[in-house]
Symmetry: C2
Subunit: 135 residues, 2 copies
Amino acid sequence: MIKTGDKYQHKTRYTQEDVIGFAKVSGDCNPIHLDPEFAAKTPFARPIVHGFLSASVFSKVFGMLFPGNGTIYLSQEMKFLAPVFTDRDYTAVFEVTEVNREKHKGIIKCSLVDDLTGKECISGTAVLKNNEQFV
Amino acid sequence: MIKTGDKYQHKTRYTQEDVIGFAKVSGDCNPIHLDPEFAAKTPFARPIVHGFLSASVFSKVFGMLFPGNGTIYLSQEMKFLAPVFTDRDYTAVFEVTEVNREKHKGIIKCSLVDDLTGKECISGTAVLKNNEQFV
């Protein structure tokens, strides 16, 4: 059973192979993610991880770990505050801000934080349904 | 140059191979996406495409087509209104609702629509920066 105020953390890391794999399945071959020469001319200086790939750790955690099995994703809001790079350690940080036990719904604040700098790279909020956990 | 009221459409389709590929790179191996037997016991009756994969068409269009090159993703809000299935045709539909020419920012309403039923499966809003298009 998950309740308001519950917290969860999950360590994550992205490789350039993940970025290439995501480009393939999504069709998002924006050179800012794939081409070091192109990326060198941008404010980021080197290739950045797709926002949708870096934020997909939220989906992974919600579907598999917290709340886990049976989770249905109702909505996700996310702000991309800082670039996410490959081969660096990040932590996805979660806090439950509201639970509606009748509708089995929960609102979870989620962030992706750079372990080295402590900087929040993604800030977001998700609304989930889970008949077994939000009870 | 992109201006308020501009519209754009992009046809898309997902395969089970895309779903498996996304599960690998994201680590989101929720059986609702991968296991037909598990999915059969859910209200969806069969495996559904990950929300982050189906919505990644927004990222693809923004980064490569509309506005295209040089786009920086600032935020994305998305509501998952109906399940997205493999081997069906969908259309991603976009409309520019606001442009800030000084800050080179634009707000774009985006949806994923099921071609067969006309049903809106994802409804969202994105905020983008593009120094060449929002001028």
